[in-house]
Symmetry: C2
Subunit: 122 residues, 2 copies
DNA sequence: CTTATTGTATTATTTAGATAATACAATTTA
DNA sequence: TAAATTGTATTATCTAAATAATACAATAAG
């Protein structure tokens, strides 16, 4: 199994998430040329078709665009990237509190737990 | 598609998570009898075989046990449940901060975001 | 005692996802 | 110009997951 991928979800979705994060985190910058489908597939140790699917989905989202034979590039729409980063963060926070609530922790209890964790790490 | 289930992960895993949460949150209490496989499957709108798989996996974890023909019951090991609740909470927190870090937020930045969200909700 | 309900097992079919193996057209590169 | 590289498309095969349709043994319920 490709490293850092699990069996619980479709691989192409996990690839999408990983690449999306790399774009947002600036590993790939606006306008950057991505490695070829084949190289990315090699890196991730997945079949080229699987990587192709992930990339074409990211294209549907507007995060990347392809230029027939010169390669695939990161969008130059920085505003879009900023917006996406904010949206993903909010979604993470929402989902996190939802899960903690299901486990039986109130918002304040969760906050207290988090503050403890952060203290330990500093 | 069964409500509150998605297509991104195997259904039996999602069922396991849901039931596990219900046990921890006290929807099902230690010693309680669970509805029959068939009834649970009806409720969740999934095939009985899928529910059976989820339940037998939860059994492997020790969360439930089955008594051949009288039904299936929640473990009475309250210590185990308490431990599990703590573990799941820690896991959630860890994963959350990991994701936020990938998005480019430091621990403090994440904390600040959270505090804002909590303020709004109170 | 009879019936209904329980967990469990079995076999078959269908579907999505992943892989495999190529092929092609366009264009960049040498 | 010739060769290599690009995204893309196609067809086939394999597997896990889900569904479907039953069946059985044990026991609880009437």
């Amino acid at each position: 199994m490709p490293s850092s991928l699990d069996n619980d979800r479709p691989i192409y979705l996990q690839l999408m998430e990983r690449i999306r994060l790399d774009i947002i985190a600036g590993v790939y910058k606006p306008g950057d040329k991505l490695p070829s489908v084949r190289d990315l597939a090699l890196d991730a140790a997945v079949n080229p078709n699987t990587m192709q699917k992930a990339l074409s989905e990211l294209e549907r989202e507007g995060l990347v665009y392809s230029q027939r034979t010169s390669g695939r590039f990161i969008t130059e729409d920085k505003n879009m990237l900023k917006q996406l980063k904010t949206n993903l963060a909010e979604e993470q926070i929402r989902q996190f509190f939802e899960k903690m609530k299901q486990l039986g922790f109130t918002g304040s209890e969760t906050l207290a737990l988090i503050e403890n964790v952060l203290k330990e790490e500093m």
